[in-house]
Symmetry: C2
Subunit: 254 residues, 2 copies
């Protein structure tokens, strides 16, 4: 399987860097083709700038500028190259330490800049309907989040003080992957890393290797599809998860 790993290790000696090396090794040794974007190593600039769209100033919505730049062939060549890597991937993996319950800025800004309108979203189907949530520019691919956090596992449980980890990662699994048509797999999380003497790195590496060894056969998260399960106002049909208002209503299995 053609795999693109986009990783944000805070340093070459970080846990993320170690898990990245393990992930690449495991995938290559089991016959997959792997591209790695190590955002720190390439000194990725996470800020959207006029030059992204071949412009000297942003004067309108950035999405419109992006779609126009794609049509005119004036998109920044680095962004276009990263889009080509995405286009060729069958599996997209985001690897990062959880900072403030989300991606470090260097990775968030990779998504901000590379997942442009006219490429990842803002596309219509033959009937003129917006392709999103189950369809989109990255339809047919799978997506996996691999992340680590310092706080203990129970703090990330569904009633844990941080909020459930599934809900905290919903903006990524549902809002980035599923939104653009990518089938999201259950996130792989390594928690409790900040305990005073953490001896879990070997176990974490084994967990990543085991998971990736079986990644081809995994069933993705069964998020509900926009056109089938939501009404014309994009509200979940009342007969589905009736009376509930939590984020898990968007999953067919919860």
């Amino acid at each position: 399987m053609q795999t693109l790993i986009v990783a944000a290790p805070p340093s070459p000696t970080s846990l993320t860097a170690r898990l990245l090396a393990a992930a690449e090794d495991e995938l290559v040794s089991t016959g997959h083709d792997v591209d790695v974007i190590d955002l720190a190593a390439i000194d990725w600039d996470p800020v959207v700038r006029p030059g992204d769209y071949g412009l000297s100033a942003i004067t309108g919505p950035v999405g419109t500028h992006a779609a126009q730049a794609i049509a005119a062939g004036t998109l920044d060549p680095t962004i276009a190259r990263h889009q080509e890597l995405l286009r060729g991937a069958e599996l997209i993996v985001f690897m990062f330490p959880l900072w403030w319950f989300g991606m470090p800025a260097i990775l968030k800004g990779w998504v901000d800049r590379v997942y442009t309108q006219g490429f990842a979203f803002g596309l219509d189907d033959a009937a003129g309907r917006t392709r999103k949530y189950g369809d989109g520019g990255l339809a047919g691919k799978r997506g996996l989040v691999i992340t680590s956090a310092g706080d203990r596992e129970t703090s990330f449980a569904r009633r844990g003080v941080n909020g459930g980890i599934d809900e905290l990662l919903f903006p990524i699994t549902h809002g980035i992957f599923f939104y653009t048509g990518t089938a999201p797999l259950e996130p792989l999380t390594v928690l409790g890393v900040d305990t005073p003497v953490w001896a879990g790195a070997d176990d974490a590496e084994a967990k990543v290797r085991k998971r990736l060894a079986g990644v081809t056969d995994e069933a993705p998260i069964p998020y509900r599809r926009m056109l089938a399960d939501y009404d014309g106002d994009r509200v979940l049909r009342p007969e589905l998860a009736p009376g509930r208002e939590d984020l898990a209503v968007h999953r067919a299995d919860r």
Copy 2:
């Protein structure tokens, strides 16, 4: 009230830039002292680097490096200056367009770099207990998110296809503000901005002005306090919101 606005306008002509100008004007004209950090105007670098901590390489957890740099007085002077602005603020306002259901990278990386361990979190009380969720380095302050998004309001309703806006912003209101002791106010959202001919900018500006005019008297979101409402494993006590597992269990009013 001493107010710090940290804003991420994508351009000087953007809606965020317009709402930023209105917010500053409203606050100043009603007698508040206002500091504005316009991240684009100062060309903020959102990436955590060794120099943040006076180092040539990151060799351990960034939080540990940060806490040591504060103790040694070697924290990057720009970061120290922004921390001073935070320390002096009674109200902290984050203004940004919602990109991929979160902050643009330039703002996320302001939090990543400025909200360091040893300043915003990682502090103990006199009894040696971690000060977080209702207490922390920014205790006693109020926090407000002002954000805008293209999709229609119903898509952000509690059963809307995007997920409820309160839940999507939970990593900020609860995970950044409340985590560090800041009392979060209900977010102010401007939705439906991408409709083909959007005529709502005047209304949005009026909404921001009206909200800020009364911001001193607002009751914050009643998130539950860690030491009172969670057990030793940091799991919500079973008698609170019994049987539920959604993010709203962390609010005393839902």
